[in-house]
Symmetry: C2
């Protein structure tokens, strides 16, 4: 069980980050407002957790223009998807 | 997804508390040393997280004597089991 606990990722202990990551693994990509509405967060709260996940290189983003307005799309990286799967597997192991 | 995030229990965000609760849901009861060894924790660290879970009334304990030595057994309460199931269901919902 010790080894399983080590496989739980501290980055996903926070439920908002777990939510962001789930959303970006399930969906191909989501822009800031979609994530905000999906998770029911304030701009500041979402921005702060996105920053943490970007620092870990678990997500990345792409800035585009939609009707001349800047729009930022967020994606899970391969590293992020692998870390997320490892975390979810560890939870499943815990329950065995 | 907002509603699902709300069903994630803050008490189980911490991976050690998630580990303790999993251990007490899967096993009928565990004493302090068994929990400590199972999760690979120090006395202080385990005691601190047990205290948090006791405060939430998610676990309870029973003091006994084993070969004249005091021994404390920990159990998940019905409230704790229900909270844990809700948390795990929310994680499963997130992944859909």
């Amino acid at each position: 069980m010790k080894e399983v606990l080590k496989n739980l990722d501290k980055a996903f202990e926070n439920r908002i980050r777990l939510g962001i990551m789930s959303a970006l693994v399930v969906n191909d990509n989501l822009d800031f407002n979609s994530l905000k509405n999906l998770l029911g967060l304030t701009d500041g709260n979402l921005a702060s957790h996105l920053k943490t996940l970007k620092k870990k290189e678990y997500i990345t983003y792409k800035k585009e223009f939609l009707n001349r307005k800047p729009n930022t799309n967020y994606f899970a990286t391969n590293k992020g998807i692998a870390a997320f799967k490892k975390h979810i597997n560890a939870i499943e192991q815990l329950l065995k």
